[in-house]
Symmetry: C2
Subunit: 365 residues, 2 copies
DNA sequence: GAACGGAATCGAATCGATTCGATACCTCGA
DNA sequence: TCGAGGTATCGAATCGATTCGATTCCGTTC
């Protein structure tokens, strides 16, 4: 099953030369103390920087301790520290899907903010968020896209009562011993439609399969509502659905844009689908935004890394501010009781709908 | 900075109704034992399934313990368990870049394999891999793309001597108390060039900036070598460089393909750049592979999610097999001494170079 | 009825750190 | 010379689990 050939090049042996076979066990603080001829307390003070009553460890003693630690190759055991102090200096992110651009953006932002405060970010990707919480000790846990079921509510509250600090992202849950971050997309979707309606009447829709089946509170509704309000015809063939793969969105967009009566603008319910639509348009020889305008939803970082840049809607400065909330809760510096944090959405203009921009901004090298 | 308005809807108060303010501290095994009227040993046996000498905990006792635990909302403290048993049931992945398709594919595969064995996967994304290793206790740590510097070698060996089990992905390091996974891209790059040379002579190159500056052992070399071997002219303008953003690769590809004397095939040094090239071709109205063929390098999952599918080179079944090695090491079931695990590369045919395929396979809905 | 054997449970040591109160040491002033 | 006061260090309890050897409580057997 696995091919081992440790003698890759030359005749260098497999075993490390200097170290005997005895060096198997991990060195402990006590060993360091013995080697340095001090108590365990002193070693601990040297490593933690703190000190019980006095103003610190004397210089020569500290030097001796550090040398002993170096010689033994000592590093503190995190689990032992955690059990004693009750802190793990760790932020846990439980993400439902690893490759989702939203999740990645959150992870990157939290990681940066956590590092700034000396914390470590742990990412757990698992189908079962709640199980994940019982698998690692962490100062605070962030749950991605928590649903509002009664079971979820119960489990979250149980965790909170046990003292686990929690931040959940949810459009339906209410705070209940834990923080809730909410960023309702629907008002933003109306902004997106309004933007397109300034210049277009033949608008197509690129929407996730599930949203068409159950349109209530989905991103499909704003499309239907606005079209109806303006008295515009809702052409069934102008709605194309996609699953959650890039290829699926691309295929759907091609089908939509290769019609005789193709729309002059596309309302895509995710940035990711909007980007697929731009690629599809280019493949079909259509210019964006002149032949077809495209708007996305979500304001993910990807929106900036395509030519032309994507017009989208989303919360502003969302990732950074969300990261601040999470880390503040880990440090227990959050403002008192957990509560609701709302992030309103707004329009983020880009080249994919801006007719006044030069046709192909990406061409310059 | 943060807007709290916990009274979101209706008049529901902020505080949870049932629980008093006393329920602040996390319940311990001892509390469960007292409530159930048994010793801590018994509670531990109930939760771990194991038992000291006897054949198990009696049914009525176990029931009493579980009820007490349920009532107190008890969950074992992982840090305490880790310190006592020396195992954390945890696999740690230290990735240098979170959004890299390779890293994500590794993470997904390891996560699946780890779950299958009751382990939890922790992902650390950090600039400093070695520092990350001192921040969490884990049964095994995987290091992404370790460089072969002397400092890296020293640090890795120090970790290994301390008993930390390690699996590193590296093209230059040799095993030294830790496993090395190697998957040399260069032979694969030659395969890619050979594939293009079967039908093309005017071949362009899309290469990372760094590789052009220091071509030794880079993916640029196989391009130069093969072109020279065949006596084909190496047109300087047929080499375009990109940084590590999608937009950058896209721009480079557009520049390359909008030339009068554009090449009929593109050798891209990553799948990611190859995909950008396909998109660029489509935008310029060029058909892939008829007007321009494209080959990528790496065999990432993304290669399958574009139309036409990408021809690429890479190791086969790499992610799953790599995951097996890592998890086996965590469970200490790996075959004895750590060693070298090599994954050879081969050609993965796709539509982006296959002239016999229908022109636009994505068109069907 | 006493000795025996096995199952169920218990008590206490232990893992590797932190931290509080106590102690040893030193200097300085009267 | 003695005591006060401050500093550096130490000893031991502790965090929450696991686990080994010991103990109790049965029902059997002779």
């Amino acid at each position: 099953m696995v091919q081992d050939n440790a003698s890759g090049q030359g005749g260098t042996g497999t075993f490390r030369p200097g170290s005997g076979t005895a060096a198997r066990r991990r060195p402990t603080l006590r060993m360091v103390a013995e080697l340095a001829g001090v108590s365990t307390a002193t070693v601990s003070y040297v490593f933690s920087g703190r000190n019980g009553g006095g103003s610190g460890v004397a210089e020569p003693t500290a030097k001796r301790v550090l040398e002993a630690a170096e010689q033994l190759n000592y590093r503190p055991n995190r689990a032992a520290r955690t059990i004693r102090t009750g802190r793990s200096d760790t932020v846990q992110l439980s993400l439902h899907m690893l490759s989702d651009p939203w999740s990645l953006a959150v992870a990157a932002a939290v990681n940066e903010e956590a590092n700034r405060h000396g914390l470590t970010t742990l990412i757990l990707a698992d189908g079962d968020w709640y199980a994940a919480l019982d698998r690692v000790e962490s100062d605070v846990a962030y749950l991605d896209a928590a649903v509002g079921s009664d079971e979820a509510r119960r489990k979250l509250q149980a965790l909170a009562e046990r003292g686990q600090r929690l931040v959940v992202f949810s459009e339906t849950l209410e705070p209940d011993g834990y923080d809730v971050i909410r960023s309702d997309a629907i008002p933003g979707c109306y902004l997106a439609m309004d933007h397109l309606l300034e210049r277009h009447t033949a608008i197509g829709c690129l929407v996730a399969e599930g949203a068409v089946r159950t349109p209530e509170h989905s991103r499909y509704t704003p499309y239907l509502v606005r079209m109806r309000e303006r008295g515009l015809p809702i052409v069934p063939e102008h709605t194309a659905t996609y699953a959650d793969t890039q290829a699926s969105a691309f295929t759907a967009a091609v089908a939509l844009l290769s019609r005789e009566d193709r729309p002059t603008a596309i309302y895509a319910t995710t940035d990711f689908a909007a980007i697929a639509a731009i690629n599809a348009a280019h493949m079909l020889g259509l210019r964006v935004p002149h032949d077809v305008a495209v708007i996305g939803i979500g304001n993910t970082p990807d929106a900036q890394s395509i030519a032309p840049t994507l017009t989208t809607v989303g919360p502003t400065d969302f990732y950074r501010r969300q990261a601040e909330i999470i880390v503040a809760r880990a440090l227990d510096s959050g403002d008192g009781e957990p509560g609701l944090h709302e992030f309103p959405w707004s329009l983020v203009p880009g080249g994919s709908t801006d007719l006044d921009a030069p046709p192909r901004p990406a061409r310059t090298n």
